[in-house]
């Protein structure tokens, strides 16, 4: 079960995925999400760095290169906090399943790779909900670099870790940065009990493993009635003309 930072249990379930760029974690999370929805569960989704309130500030900082390792850390923590307070926590209190693409471990890995004190970053995120299961998609560095860099003309400044001054060449810098992030992740596997998935396995094999780990936690998760209006239409032999008008139609997911 998911727990508040102070250990108090929440009725919902929180599953999160972690891994470096190109590990395939987002694909796996998407497959998990579709499967859960197919099973009739009520599923909410939250993505790293997507808070509508904080996004403009982050964008501004990146575009004008105003961010230092410490402000980079704090602005991402603000983004996370907003999503936690407004998306994840309410859904978990209601008993829903919440899926998060990247979680606090992304910050722990990246910020430490940028030279921020690891203990301080953990303190900053001290308010975070403890997930039900945290998956780490482990992939050989060379493999992930190949996936990311293939057909990609240009790396962004912070994405490549150019702010660290490791190298003036974005590709060299990116490689070094990613490799130091991998080291951070590997250290966290034990610290936080991350469930490791071998991301070099075939897609469906990974998905089966993920499903097998998730399934035992689903017993009392909240179900959502989907397209319940269909039964009424069928029983009453209606066409649903006015459902079309309000934008509810059979074509929607």
């Amino acid at each position: 079960m998911a727990k508040l930072a102070d250990g108090c249990p929440l009725p919902g379930k929180l599953f999160i995925v972690e891994g470096i760029d190109g590990s395939g974690k987002s694909t796996q999370l998407d497959m998990l999400r579709k499967w859960l929805i197919g099973q009739g569960y009520c599923v909410a989704f939250s993505e790293w760095n997507s808070s509508p309130i904080v996004r403009n500030t982050t964008k501004r900082g990146k575009k004008r290169r105003l961010l230092t390792p410490t402000s980079f850390c704090l602005i991402h923590a603000a983004d996370f906090a907003d999503r936690m307070e407004r998306q994840m926590l309410p859904a978990l209190k209601a008993g829903a399943i919440v899926l998060a693409d990247r979680y606090v471990y992304t910050a722990f890995a990246r910020d430490a790779a940028r030279g921020v004190h690891p203990e301080w970053v953990r303190q900053v995120y001290g308010f975070a909900i403890q997930p039900t299961v945290a998956f780490y998609f482990r992939v050989p560095l060379e493999e992930s670099l190949k996936r990311i860099l293939e057909g990609r003309p240009k790396l962004k400044y912070y994405e490549a870790g150019l702010d660290l001054g490791l190298s003036d060449d974005p590709y060299k810098s990116f490689k070094q940065f990613q490799s130091s992030i991998v080291n951070q992740y590997e250290q966290m596997v034990e610290e936080f009990g991350l469930k490791v998935i071998d991301a070099s396995l075939p897609l469906l094999e990974q998905h089966d493993q993920v499903r097998a780990i998730v399934e035992p936690h689903l017993d009392d998760a909240l179900h959502a009635e989907r397209r319940g209006w269909r039964e009424v239409l069928a029983a009453e032999r209606l066409e649903g003309r006015y459902l079309d008008e309000i934008g509810i139609s059979g074509d929607l997911p």
Partner: protein, 240 residues
């Protein structure tokens, strides 16, 4: 700033042990006259020949605008708002305050982490977490805490801009009207400041008096802090 000292873990990358400037903080509740005093002190210090840099909450180029926009929507959670404040704070610290201290400026800041901590604590945010997060803040050379009683504050606030939504605690208090909310909120904030005066070693300045009286008290206090700074050549002997 003779010795660089942080409240907690400090900033990565600051190698210097000493910074020749001085960091002076004015703290106090809304309407106590901080901005007026800062403006007067800045002009006085400049006339004395010091280089002065002035800053204050929400004035950073990274997050200042974002905080104001977010606050105008009234949808911010407590943790989010505090992390935005922290972002703005560290942005000004790293890109304005520390470079100025390195260049021997007197840095005058209108509010510091204490205001942020006070407003967060009355809203129930964990005090230990706040101190951890703001552990990167430099310990200032002096913190002058302007303290005025509520009876003195109310007419000043009304004269200036009325009872602000956030400064009246409307976001979390359940008072029947904004005046009562303001009174309740400011009472709680004052209690927080009074409790922090000891913890953080504030110099408490009685701000019930006239602007001139308060200014002269601050002037005397600041003279003590800057007296051993090398006086600029062209005013040598004029100071004192």
């Amino acid at each position: 700033m003779t010795e660089v000292q942080f409240y907690g873990h400090g900033l990565p990358g600051l190698k210097k042990k000493r910074l020749p400037g001085r960091l002076i903080v004015l703290e106090g509740t809304d309407g106590v006259g901080r901005s007026t005093q800062s403006a007067l002190l800045r002009e006085w210090l400049e006339a004395e020949g010091y280089a002065v840099a002035a800053t204050g909450l929400k004035r950073g180029s990274l997050a200042g605008k974002g905080i104001k926009a977010a606050m105008s929507g009234h949808t911010l959670g407590n943790i989010t708002l505090n992390l935005l404040y922290a972002t703005d704070f560290v942005d000004r610290l790293e890109r304005l305050i520390i470079p100025a201290l390195r260049a021997s400026f007197v840095v005058l800041t209108d509010r510091y982490i204490y205001s942020i901590i006070a407003r967060a604590q009355v809203r129930g945010v964990d005090p230990a977490w706040l101190r951890d997060v703001f552990g990167f803040a430099l310990v200032p050379d002096a913190v002058f805490y302007l303290h005025a009683d509520l009876t003195h504050l109310i007419p000043r606030v009304l004269n200036a801009r009325g009872f602000d939504y956030w400064e009246s605690g409307v976001d979390f208090l359940r008072a029947p009207d904004r005046y009562e909310s303001f009174v309740e909120y400011q009472t709680q904030i004052l209690a927080q400041f009074d409790a922090m005066a000891n913890e953080f070693g504030f110099v408490t300045v009685d701000a019930n008096g006239s602007i001139r009286e308060v200014f002269e008290t601050l002037q005397a206090g600041i003279r003590d802090v800057i007296q051993d700074m090398k006086p600029p050549k062209h005013v040598k002997g004029k100071d004192k």
